[in-house]
Symmetry: C2
């Protein structure tokens, strides 16, 4: 079996939010699909290790913010490469409450769901949610995972089903590589990495230059 074939499955890039008690929290997910149209239901797959998973199980609710090609990719670092156990994911992020759940302003739309069923697998829960609210926001094409991977040069968090340990393509293999130790972004711009100003930040997760490692 050639596992690289899984890279040819298409996904969007979403921020899934829910409530931890009265506090908003969330994470990045790719694995979302509409199941039925009337009533509208959505399936969401989430790793057991994501703090958001246990919060959805407790609250019985989740919201999907659909990232667009113009969404700030630092949102993926903020929500995808740190845990809601440790940080307030929504701190400094523009958002509004929809049916009581926080949704991201800088997205092309949102969907709010109540959990009505779930299916457990070895590592992930598939939540089935009935849609209770949803609307369009920014008028920009939805970001696909392929766009994130090929244009933003982003990588998958380790909890994502799309994560492959050998994710290192996309950079010149003859030269030394500088790789963000937080999100795996491989620096591939013309300016030598050493010459970048100290204020340089990872374009994917927003971490500083000191988080990059030479490989």
């Amino acid at each position: 079996m050639n596992k690289n074939v899984f890279r040819n499955l298409s996904y969007g890039v979403y921020i899934i939010s829910t409530l931890d008690g009265g506090r908003g929290t969330g994470c990045v997910a790719n694995s979302i699909m509409q199941i039925t149209s009337e009533p509208a239901t959505i399936a969401l797959s989430m790793n057991h290790d994501n703090f958001t998973n246990s919060c959805i199980a407790k609250s019985g609710r989740f919201a999907i913010s659909i990232l667009s090609e113009s969404s700030d990719s630092a949102l993926i670092g903020q929500f995808g490469f740190q845990s809601g156990k440790d940080v307030d994911k929504f701190e400094g992020v523009g958002h509004a409450l929809k049916e009581g759940l926080p949704v991201i302003d800088d997205s092309c739309g949102y969907i709010v769901c109540n959990v009505i069923d779930k299916m457990e697998t070895s590592t992930h829960t598939v939540f089935l949610g009935e849609v209770v609210d949803g609307d369009l926001l920014e008028d920009s094409p939805a970001m696909t995972y392929a766009y994130y991977h090929n244009v933003v040069k982003g990588r998958s968090p380790k909890n994502a089903p799309t994560y492959l340990p050998e994710e290192t393509e996309g950079a010149d293999s003859s030269a030394a590589k500088w790789v963000c130790s937080v999100c795996g972004y491989v620096y591939d711009q013309e300016t030598p990495f050493e010459d970048l100003p100290d204020s340089y930040k990872c374009p994917v997760c927003g971490q500083g230059k000191d988080k990059f490692r030479r490989q």
Copy 2:
């Protein structure tokens, strides 16, 4: 709730195949996502009304052929806009047997699964399949549903969760439209429809000029 937000969820375009007794059959689906990586599992959503659904339930197996941007869009008409109850879907279609299931040659990869669980909803079954084989084929980007909709100008079959009855955008609304009555494709090329040769075929589903209706 604004149902147009569902159009911002991203999908690929896949041909799902299985066995009807000893005969291959299949249909088009968008709703596929990887759930776990080790062992690799895939969730597939399929309408109860699709003949392929009952054949997967009986055989306990399905294969996914991943269409690419260079795949012949007539495959979508062949598999998406007619029923395997009535026709042999694989007649005249280049395919190979993988683990006993037919997969499409003109695709960028295939995945073969054994069903290990399922979740029922009002109109669709979500099958969970454990991957038993998979490989890359054509070296062309996977076709996304957005590409099919915006570039190929294709529409959703009525059984798809992505189907919206008001799907009529994409053509010049000031002029008369010629619409394929089989798949909903709206003719939008420069040559007036009336001047096309009798041999003209719908680029999406391959039906003849006589299947078009003026609107």
